[in-house]
């Protein structure tokens, strides 16, 4: 029942401001500590026999790649909340999550490229998984661009939500078409558009335990950091909406004063 009361509290922007104001400092601090510890562990682990010291990039690259996808899931989930339940905070959440998710996607691309140069000899190859992350980045860009180009706020929110959900419907197809799909028991075999990337290792199958723990810690720490930033962005967005409402009220009051003056 604790969770229910929290959701109820969060349902109201004022409550959200109070609650998040109390949580945010702790959340940020925890995230920072965990990331720091993960980095300490990671940088002191023995180098990988295959990848050498470049394995250090993994501690940030992989969390960024995961958070890129999680960020889109958050946007989609919030968009669904807006369109179906018309929850006022859902839109605030969707709007706040998009640029943060885009930033993590960008970082996944950059760190991946910087890993690729020593491993493959080139910054970029048109490998399947890289390509689908790039497409994810474009979906983020689309969300941000659409929202920024519609003046009316409620309109922009709902339209962006529709786009986010269309993206969800098509993401699997985009992924399959670049990465291929194989379901042996159905006899289904769609070849990848191109395959060069490391096959997905699955958690820990090739990664040594001394690297797996820092990686998991780092992923956890960056996830907390993501949520802290998201919370901060939501708070700012709520303030921004209040400013806007007050400005409109100001104009209305000016008009009302004029009406009174005209009547006198």
């Amino acid at each position: 029942m604790q969770t229910q009361s929290i959701t109820q509290k969060l349902a109201n922007p004022t409550r959200f401001m109070a609650l998040s104001g109390a949580i945010l400092p702790w959340l940020s601090a925890t995230a920072a500590v965990i990331i720091a510890y993960a980095m300490y562990r990671g940088w002191n682990a023995p180098p990988d026999y295959q990848q050498g010291e470049t394995i250090l990039i993994m501690y940030i690259h992989v969390p960024f790649a995961w958070l890129a996808m999680m960020g889109y899931a958050l946007v989609a989930f919030s968009s669904f909340g807006l369109l179906v339940f018309r929850h006022p905070l859902a839109d605030v959440s969707a709007k706040a999550a998009a640029p943060i998710g885009a930033a993590f996607t960008f970082l996944a691309l950059v760190t991946g490229s910087l890993w690729g140069k020593p491993m493959w000899g080139t910054y970029w190859v048109w490998d399947a998984r890289l390509t689908s992350v790039l497409m994810l980045f474009f979906l983020y860009l689309g969300l941000i661009a659409l929202r920024s180009s519609i003046e009316e706020e409620t309109l922009a929110s709902k339209l962006t939500a529709v786009l986010a959900l269309v993206g969800v419907a098509l993401l699997p197809f985009i992924k399959i078409s670049v990465e291929g799909l194989s379901i042996p028991w159905l006899g289904l075999e769609i070849p990848a558009w191109n395959t060069l990337h490391q096959p997905s290792t699955g958690m820990g199958s090739t990664i040594h335990i001394s690297q797996r723990i820092p990686l998991l810690l780092s992923a956890f720490g960056f996830s907390l950091a993501f949520f802290a930033m998201h919370m901060k962005a939501m708070r700012t967005e709520i303030l921004r909406r209040r400013v806007k409402a007050l400005r409109i009220a100001e104009v209305d009051r000016a008009r009302a004063r004029e009406a009174v003056a005209a009547a006198e």
Partner: protein, 223 residues
């Protein structure tokens, strides 16, 4: 369904009568393809090798950039709100308009493609397959594109924005469209059918998703 045909007929008639719409898209396609040899150099082997891809991408851009006004004139002259309460579900209104766009832009562009293939020294053997895959693939452009047109109806920067939103959604169509052509020309023709079937399936999917999402967006726009 009668109302559907009425609307479709009207949209086709308007496109024919205004003329410019079809002509502009075709002209743009032509010019972009004509610029490519200037930019890529006159190596005919190279050009013929990448011709299918260039033809597809340029077609995508022309179709996409001509989509902008799909709902715009109807919105501005007040027809759209009347269409919305006319009795035909808004999903079918969107479908009729996307279909009209395919008939008046998608098909002409697909038919123009082999002609432009000459400029890029495309292998003659590929002409048939090129047109076939394009005819099968272009409905996805019109129907997915209608989502973009509906979303950007009241946005400040229509054209480019629409392309930005919708291009990533075309990745599957593009990949399988080109896969079908290459497998046909590279004599690996047993690989043609899977790609072609997937391409058809994608277009069928777009036929469903497009109208649903566009109608949702249009309802929001009418508020």
């Amino acid at each position: 369904m009668n109302a559907f045909w009425t609307l479709l007929k009207r949209d086709i008639r308007l496109a024919m009568r205004e003329g410019g719409a079809i002509g502009t898209a075709l002209g743009f396609y032509l010019i972009v393809i004509a610029m490519l040899p200037l930019g890529l150099g006159p190596d005919l082997n190279l050009l013929s090798r990448i011709a299918p891809g260039l033809l597809w991408i340029a077609l995508l851009l022309s179709a996409l950039l001509s989509l902008g006004r799909m709902f715009e004139t109807d919105y501005e002259d007040g027809s759209l709100e009347l269409l919305a309460i006319g009795g035909l579900p808004l999903e079918l209104v969107a479908a009729a308009k996307a279909l009209a766009h395919w008939l008046t832009t998608g098909i002409p562009l697909a038919l123009l493609a082999p002609v432009l293939g000459i400029l890029l020294n495309l292998d003659i053997a590929a002409y048939g397959v090129l047109v076939l895959t394009m005819l099968v693939g272009t409905p996805a452009i019109s129907f997915l594109g209608s989502i973009g047109a509906a979303l950007t109806l009241r946005a400040r920067r229509g054209g480019l924005l629409l392309a930005l939103l919708i291009l990533p959604l075309y990745v599957p169509t593009l990949i399988y469209g080109i896969a079908a052509i290459s497998s046909a020309t590279l004599a690996a023709s047993e690989a043609f059918w899977p790609s072609f079937l997937i391409l058809s399936a994608l277009s069928m999917g777009a036929l469903v998703l497009g109208p649903l999402a566009s109608a949702a967006a249009l309802r929001i726009q009418l508020q």
